[in-house]
């Protein structure tokens, strides 16, 4: 067999594995990496955040911290609060990201997360309003990648969902006489999460093969990517295919079917973890 080096000819090296329907790390084409999630103050160790979660998808590590503040709602939507997601790719997570203003990947990821929140209606902005026209919650979701090994979008959406489920907001009332807000830190309520979107990413190889959950190396060699976000009713919240190799409608349908299966696995995992940290 001719010797094929992983560093000199990475594409040939990969093609050898793909011919046998597996990948260099031993996974099948449709298999995800081990997913672990840590939620809350004790396990996730962000003590100052209102809600936090740490998600590991293989080596890709993403942490999400949620902080809520009070503000006046906008004039044209007096009954709506704000949700502000922000994805950061600091230079410590991978060599390709330099320090300085957010690069294209970080901005595109932030826009993607904002779209997922909006499309899936997982948090309805009207729920964040405390008093019409006077007071509303602003929920800042900061998603920071600590280690980048591919599939950032899946891990980010998962971390966001887990962190939001963990958020406990204090009860805020407006005193009728003084007109000032009173924050009751003793009484906390969880955020109302209506839908649970889960993202599934695929990499397209050589215009035909679809592999699930690509690593950073696989993403570099791929000719395109597809990310499908589904919610628990099997509805599509987002089909994100930023260019890359053309796909037929049938292949897209395969991706969607796999995404729906993945949704069930992730939902089970989140429910299990939340149950384990809730004090009985």
């Amino acid at each position: 067999l001719p010797i094929c080096s992983r560093t000199v000819e990475p594409l040939e090296y990969y093609r050898r594995f793909l011919k046998e329907n597996c990948r260099p790390d031993g996974r099948e084409l449709g298999e995800f990496r081990t997913t672990t999630v840590n939620i809350g103050k004790c396990l996730c160790s962000i003590t100052t955040a209102d809600g936090s979660a740490l998600v590991k998808l293989g080596n890709t590590t993403v942490i999400c911290g949620v902080k809520a503040e009070l503000a006046a709602p906008a004039v044209d939507s007096a009954n709506k609060g704000y949700i502000v997601p922000n994805v950061e790719l600091p230079s410590l997570c991978a060599e390709r990201f330099r320090s300085g203003p957010p690069g294209v990947e970080a901005q595109a990821a932030s826009q993607f997360i904002a779209d997922v929140i909006e499309n899936s209606q997982m948090i309805v902005k009207e729920d964040l309003c405390i008093a019409n026209g006077k007071l509303a919650w602003v929920v800042y979701c900061d998603i920071i990648c600590l280690d980048y090994d591919g599939n950032l979008l899946d891990a980010s959406v998962f971390a966001l969902l887990a962190a939001l489920k963990n958020v406990q907001l204090p009860l805020v009332t407006i005193n009728e006489e003084t007109g000032l807000s009173e924050v009751n830190l003793k009484q906390k309520n969880p955020l109302m999460i209506r839908k649970h979107p889960v993202a599934t990413s695929f990499a397209i190889f050589d215009d035909t093969l679809l592999i699930v959950d690509p690593t950073a190396e696989e993403e570099d060699l791929a000719t395109g990517t597809v990310t499908i976000v589904t919610d628990e009713e099997g509805r599509l919240c987002s089909v994100h295919k930023p260019g890359g190799s053309p796909l037929t409608g049938a292949k897209l349908q395969d991706c969607i079917t796999r995404a729906i299966t993945r949704h069930k696995e992730v939902k089970k995992l989140i429910d299990k973890v939340i149950k384990s940290i809730t004090p009985k």
Binding site: D115, C237, K241
Partner: protein, 190 residues
């Protein structure tokens, strides 16, 4: 410049030209897309759209024929009355055609709006987009009408997405015919 209805986008393509050493790629052309909104500075939304356009163009442009060069595509939004992203896609493809760059296939952008009662509307106006339950934008390639790019706004069921995709693929034929006619008019003697 492409204007379906009142949405208008001006596209300018420069290249293949010499690339800066920091940006050049050793084996292919480096494609850069700049999207300038009508008002204000480009923000996160423009960056995300630029990424979509760039990767769509990279999939069709035969960059390997022009290594270590830079191709810059600048899009200026002149007016926005709905279906902006598909207008940008069409402008980009026509600019690539006009510049004579080697392409593997043509592509066209189609926007579908899914109305609350379930009907599919192609190339919605801004008003129709606001009332729609979901808006899906596809970039369809000329070879076998495959999907080159897809983005969705709002949620829809899987069947609805497939129906929109089929409608977009049918509409693509009309758009490609429009490309043919435009290019023919441009290069005809009169």
């Amino acid at each position: 410049s492409v204007s379906p209805g009142d949405t208008s986008v001006l596209a300018g393509l420069y290249g293949p030209a010499e690339a800066k050493v920091s940006k050049e790629l050793p084996d292919r052309a480096a494609l850069e897309v700049l999207l300038r909104p009508k008002v204000g500075l480009p923000g996160v939304l423009e960056r995300s759209r630029e990424q979509l356009l760039r990767q769509t163009c990279e999939a069709v442009v035969l960059g390997v024929l022009h290594p270590r060069t830079a191709i810059s595509l600048v899009l200026q939004v002149l007016s926005d009355a709905g279906s902006l992203l598909s207008c940008c896609l069409n402008a980009a493809c026509m600019a690539l055609l006009d510049a004579g760059l080697p392409l593997a296939a043509l592509f066209c952008g189609v926007t579908c709006a899914l109305q609350p009662d379930g009907t599919i509307l192609l190339d919605p106006t801004a008003r129709q987009e606001q009332e729609a339950r979901a808006i899906l934008t596809f970039a369809i390639a000329s070879s076998e009408r495959k999907v080159l790019m897809a983005t969705t706004k709002g949620s829809c069921s899987v069947e609805e997405m497939q129906q929109c995709l089929a409608a977009a693929q049918r509409a693509a034929t009309t758009i490609f015919q429009f490309y043919r006619d435009s290019v023919r008019r441009r290069y005809s003697k009169s």
